[in-house]
């Protein structure tokens, strides 16, 4: 129906242009900015047309591109998209476009390379979300680390060496385990296609080990408690746009992997361990919220809050295991909640990191105690930031609420205590988000020693667009629901059928 390699274009256009930008050292700043802007806009248009052409009423894969790649090993260049991929592709394209706009008001040394790495990252993310061959997926998944490593390592803050190495080794450790699991599965299946893994009949012990490998691999990426400690460090050292892409899209790769690999492949082991995994998610939601409250650095606070919010994603995913067999409807609600939470957190955390970047630009400090009374000098900015903080605390009418609502509903479908513990986050997230607002935005400030100034037009545009989308997803997210609905229902049905 659609004979046009749109997925390949989505992947390779940004990667090639990005490589060109990285290699051509002497490109002027203006030129590279325009080039990045054009390419990201093009990718956004492509992904919009992808969404438009995506047939929501079908639950099978669409836009399939399948070419032999490494013959002897049965590895294919196999790209496709389902509802979950499409929604995440849209998020990636959108956030990268905003980064391109925002970056044009920033000054960095060697800017063309900086922007080039972001383009490469964008292409690799597209690849990760569309690869349906496990080796292809693994290659994209792993290469994601490189551009981000360079972005933080070259353009990062004072303590960047420690942060980058920690971040790199942490995630590498997890993905190596994942690679082992993939290779093991492929020897059984005789192919590397993810879909073939679904059909395998694994013994319980095999499933258990594979589940643990995936859990560690993706759990570090998301990150889950207790393997989350790389995230605050990486965020604090990363430049603003680096934090944005890290929080809003890179973390979602973990959630995406869990849905794609763990749910269908290791169902029985998942059911066996679901209780413990749910506990881990609840710890992430409650304990991390407490830790977030104690932070004195704005970026760390938001980084910890990201961990807490991603706790809802993992909770929604693991609840599926818990609910299989007794309440399938609640399982669907939970999984849809997890996906929507991913998208919404992508928007909200991006917005908050942009905001912090703007404050930092003026005051040169990210500490809570150095920033106060912003509202007096940047009223519009403060209004927007308060909005994002409210969204972060899950205010209804913003997208932050939708996912949490669905996940809590699903939790109540299995056990009221889980639901209650998850709902406590309503209070905790408000307490740390508003603490940030209370300390930074409000308060008396007559001197303005920080030199606050109202945002530039670029920043206004970026934040304004984010407000619109957060509100849109908060008020009428029906379109997003339509995109993911058939895919999730089909996924859960097939998992359930596979069991019986």
């Amino acid at each position: 129906m659609f004979n046009f390699p749109i997925l390949s274009l989505l992947i390779w256009i940004p990667i090639l242009v990005g490589l060109f930008l990285v290699i051509s050292n002497n490109l002027s700043n203006k030129l590279s900015e325009y080039l990045t802007l054009i390419i990201t806009f093009l990718v956004l248009l492509l992904s919009l047309s992808l969404t438009n052409n995506y047939d929501q009423s079908l639950s099978q894969l669409q836009f399939i591109e399948r070419i032999e790649w490494i013959n002897g090993l049965n590895i294919f260049y196999y790209l496709a998209a389902d509802g979950i991929s499409v929604s995440l592709i849209l998020l990636t394209a959108f956030i990268n476009f905003l980064i391109a706009i925002y970056a044009s008001s920033e000054t960095y040394k060697n800017k063309s390379a900086y922007l080039g790495y972001f383009l490469i990252l964008e292409g690799l993310l597209m690849g990760t979300f569309t690869a349906f061959d496990s080796i292809l997926f693994y290659i994209f998944f792993e290469s994601l680390l490189i551009p981000l490593f360079l972005i933080i390592g070259i353009w990062g803050g004072k303590n960047r060496k420690y942060a980058t190495i920690k971040f790199f080794l942490y995630t590498l450790f997890g993905s190596v385990l994942m690679l082992i699991a993939i290779i093991y599965l492929s020897t059984l299946a005789g192919s590397f296609a993810i879909r073939d893994f679904y059909l395998l009949n694994l013994s319980f012990e095999e499933e258990l080990f594979i589940l643990l490998a995936f859990l560690i691999g993706f759990g570090i990426k998301i990150p889950m408690w207790p393997v989350h400690t790389w995230l605050p460090d990486a965020h604090v050292e990363a430049p603003t746009s680096g934090s944005v892409i890290l929080a809003s899209v890179l973390l979602k790769v973990g959630g995406y992997g869990m849905i794609r690999f763990m749910l269908p492949i290791t169902t029985e082991a998942g059911i066996f361990l679901s209780e413990y995994m749910i506990y881990l998610s609840l710890i992430a939601i409650i304990y991390i919220s407490f830790v977030a409250y104690a932070q004195t650095d704005m970026k760390k606070l938001i980084a910890y809050s990201s961990v807490a919010h991603m706790g809802f994603v993992t909770l929604g995913i693991f609840l599926v295991f818990h609910l299989l067999g007794n309440n399938l409807n609640a399982a669907v609600i939970g999984l849809e909640g997890a996906i929507i939470q991913m998208i919404s957190h992508g928007l909200i955390s991006a917005a908050l990191f942009f905001c912090i970047g703007i404050i930092y630009k003026h005051s040169k400090s990210r500490l809570l105690k150095d920033n106060y009374g912003v509202v007096t000098f940047m009223p519009l900015f403060s209004f927007l930031m308060l909005f994002f903080l409210m969204a972060n605390s899950g205010l209804p009418g913003t997208s932050g609420f939708v996912g949490e609502f669905l996940v809590i509903t699903s939790a109540l479908g299995s056990n009221i205590i889980i639901g209650f513990l998850a709902a406590i986050s309503l209070l905790l997230s408000a307490s740390y988000s508003l603490k940030l607002g209370k300390n930074v935005l409000f308060g008396e400030n007559t001197q303005n020693i920080q030199g606050y100034k109202e945002c530039t037009i670029n920043e206004k545009f970026v934040l304004g667009v984010l407000v619109i989308f957060i509100l849109y997803l908060g008020l009428t997210p029906d379109y997003l629901f339509k995109i993911i609905d058939h895919t999730t229902i089909n996924l859960i049905d097939s998992i359930n059928l596979g069991r019986t």
């Binding site: 104690a294 699903s410 209650f420 408000a430 008396e444 008020l475």
Partner: protein, 637 residues
């Protein structure tokens, strides 16, 4: 009809958006936009009310905007139009309009004048969202938006330290209640598969007997839902123990206090329980709980206001106490009586607050009643308005407050709820005392104004007082019979029989009730309290020393004051710091992660010593290894 209701709902929202857009324009424009949008809402609401009763419409429930419509479930925004929602929206819009009008003058010297109206318009919209909602989901959204706008309004003065603390606190306490409400909503959603009121009400009997298992103990599902929802109502309607945000919310501008206390925020909880009366009627154990929460609030928090000296705080505690009466009525399944008191209270409490605002502005933002006095001559109109509002508040016969409050107390007595009945009776005494305390201290005694030529406030501030006086005094009598006999709310409120039984056997009609009241114990308590306060506050003919312990307890507001300002923040700081420093940094990060890397560091430091860098060492190793290998092979084979 549905389009008109949409206009009613959306006019304040459109106003908000227009105001946002024209934020930097003139004051006059924003006054025009904000007031006219609320006025449109008000007129539409009145018209709809008229239409509803004159044409005998049936309740209408219609979805307007699809939120999510998937294969398994659907959520949407919708409107529910019946007598209850229309009466309520009329109350909300009328009080809101008067407060808006009043604010024009009250806020005229503020630098962020326009911002104020953005918030108030949004506040009204959020409340209407709750009132007109036809499903739990929208109810929750409105609920939180009300919380948001109150947060913004209480912290209106963004550089005032206490205001920022108060709005933070208010939002968080409300969030505690929201947890309950959200859980209730999710439980409804997951058990019924829908959140629409009508559909849930139709399905309610099917799960009436299903159980919910918590830690091995099973609870009735419906009761759990009702209880969880009521927790939300407790926070919003300031019931014990989630009441302590309300006195602090006085940090906002005074018109906002009027808005919060009278129409748009604290009534949400009462309204919700009444709206969901079909569910609450079935949950009898929860009803008993509600009854006791209400009466405890009415009595004990009324006591607190006796020792307060800030005029706004006294009225705030009085609001909490009056809300206690409404809650008690809800608990006794007297839903229409609770709504009745809600309506009359909305008007006379708004009046009280607006009077207080006038007084405060006249006294240059002095709120301590010990430093205010003798204003009767300077502010005759405010004086009269305050008098009528006070009479209504203490339930003086024939006023609105009399009808709505006495009827609750009598009905609770009629149904033999002895303990709540006693507490509510004692509440009359307390109400009278604190009301007359303000009244006598502020308007009589020595004049404290420096400028002897002060006059009444502007016209904009007086007109709302005039208008509000009418419903404060006469509305009760006007709707008493139709309300109690069930013609006003009809089927929108459950358990009409309970009220009807009481009405037919005890009240009979408003005139009879009025005459009969002189023979009841209520009236004697009122009389004694009036005489007592006349001599105590006005003549100062005797002095009572309250025991020290009692006054300390009351001054500390039963410890809630310390709890919320000292204990909880301190505990939270300690706990979070401990978790972060000791568990996150010391144990996980340093203990596990960094120690692992240190271990590798040590191992590789030991191993690297073998790399001497000399070629002959390497070659020696290679060759000796080779020889060794050859030897091994030689020996084994």
């Amino acid at each position: 009809m549905i389009y008109l209701a949409l206009i009613l709902l959306l006019a304040p929202l459109v106003g908000t958006l227009l105001l946002l857009y024209t934020q930097n324009n003139s004051k006059r424009l924003s006054i025009f936009i904000s007031n006219s949008s609320i006025l449109i809402s008000f007129f539409v609401s009145i018209y709809l009310l008229f239409l509803y009763f004159s044409c005998n419409y049936l309740p209408v429930s219609q979805d307007v905007l699809v939120f999510a419509d998937t294969k398994l479930y659907s959520l949407s925004f919708g409107l529910y139009i019946d007598s209850l929602s229309l009466v309520m929206s009329t109350v909300v819009t009328s009080v809101s309009f008067l407060v808006h009008y009043y604010s024009i003058s009250y806020m005229k010297d503020e630098s962020s004048f326009n911002r104020f109206f953005i918030y108030t318009n949004f506040f009204t919209f959020s409340m209407l969202l709750i009132v007109l909602s036809n499903n739990f989901f929208q109810l929750f959204i409105g609920w939180e938006l009300v919380g948001l706008s109150s947060y913004l309004l209480i912290g209106f003065w963004t550089s005032k330290e206490s205001a920022i603390k108060a709005n933070y606190k208010a939002f968080l306490v409300n969030r505690v209640g929201d947890i309950g409400l959200l859980l209730g909503l999710c439980l409804v959603f997951v058990t019924y598969g829908t959140t629409n009121y009508t559909e849930v009400f139709n399905l309610k009997d099917t799960i009436n007997n299903s159980e919910l298992d918590i830690f091995g103990t099973s609870f009735n599902l419906l009761s759990s839902i009702c209880l969880l929802l009521f927790v939300g109502a407790m926070a919003k309607s300031a019931q014990v123990p989630l009441h302590f945000w309300l006195p602090d919310s006085m940090e906002g501008p005074t018109p906002i206090s009027a808005l919060i206390h009278a129409a748009t925020m604290v009534t949400a909880g009462i309204y919700m329980v009444a709206r969901l009366s079909p569910l609450y009627v079935l949950a009898e154990d929860v009803s008993i709980f509600i009854l006791y929460v209400g009466s405890v609030t009415a009595f004990f928090l009324g006591l607190v206001s006796l020792v307060q000296n800030d005029i706004k705080r006294i009225i705030a505690y009085s609001t909490i106490s009056q809300l206690g009466y409404m809650t008690a009525a809800l608990g006794a399944s007297l839903y229409s009586l609770a709504i009745f008191h809600l309506i009359t209270h909305a008007f006379f409490k708004a009046l009280l607050f607006l009077c207080a605002g006038s007084i405060i502005i006249k006294c240059h933002h002095e709120q301590d009643i010990r430093k205010i006095g003798g204003l009767r001559k300077f502010m005759p109109i405010t004086y009269l308005a305050f008098l009528y509002a006070s009479l209504s508040l203490i339930g003086f016969p024939l006023t609105s407050g009399f009808y709505s409050k006495e009827v609750i107390i009598d009905a609770i007595g009629y149904y033999n709820h002895t303990i709540p009945y006693t507490m509510l009776l004692a509440g009359i005494f307390i109400t009278t005392l604190y009301t007359s305390k303000i009244f006598f201290k502020v308007f009589f005694g020595e004049c404290t104004l420096h400028d002897r030529n002060e006059k009444e406030n502007d016209k904009e501030m007086l007109v709302p007082l005039f208008i509000l006086t009418a419903p404060s005094v006469f509305l009760g009598l006007f709707i008493f019979d139709s309300l109690l006999s069930g013609t006003l709310f009809g089927a929108s409120l459950m358990s009409n029989t309970v009220v009807l039984d009481f009405y037919n056997n005890y009240v009979i009609n408003s005139l009879y009730f009025f005459l009969h009241s002189f023979m009841t114990i209520n009236f004697f308590i009122l009389l004694i309290a009036l005489i007592f306060s006349y001599y105590y506050y006005y003549k100062k003919s005797f002095n009572i020393s309250i025991p020290n312990i009692l006054s300390t307890i009351l001054k500390n507001e039963y410890g809630f004051n310390n709890l919320s300002t000292k204990f909880i923040p301190k505990f939270q700081n300690l706990l979070t710091k401990y978790l972060w420093k000791n568990i996150d940094i010391l144990t996980i990060d340093n203990g596990i992660i960094n120690n692992t890397s240190l271990m590798f560091d040590k191992i590789s430091n030991t191993v690297r010593k073998f790399q001497t860098g000399y070629i002959y060492h390497y070659s020696l190793t290679i060759i000796s290894a080779l020889i060794l290998a050859l030897l091994i092979i030689r020996i084994r084979y």
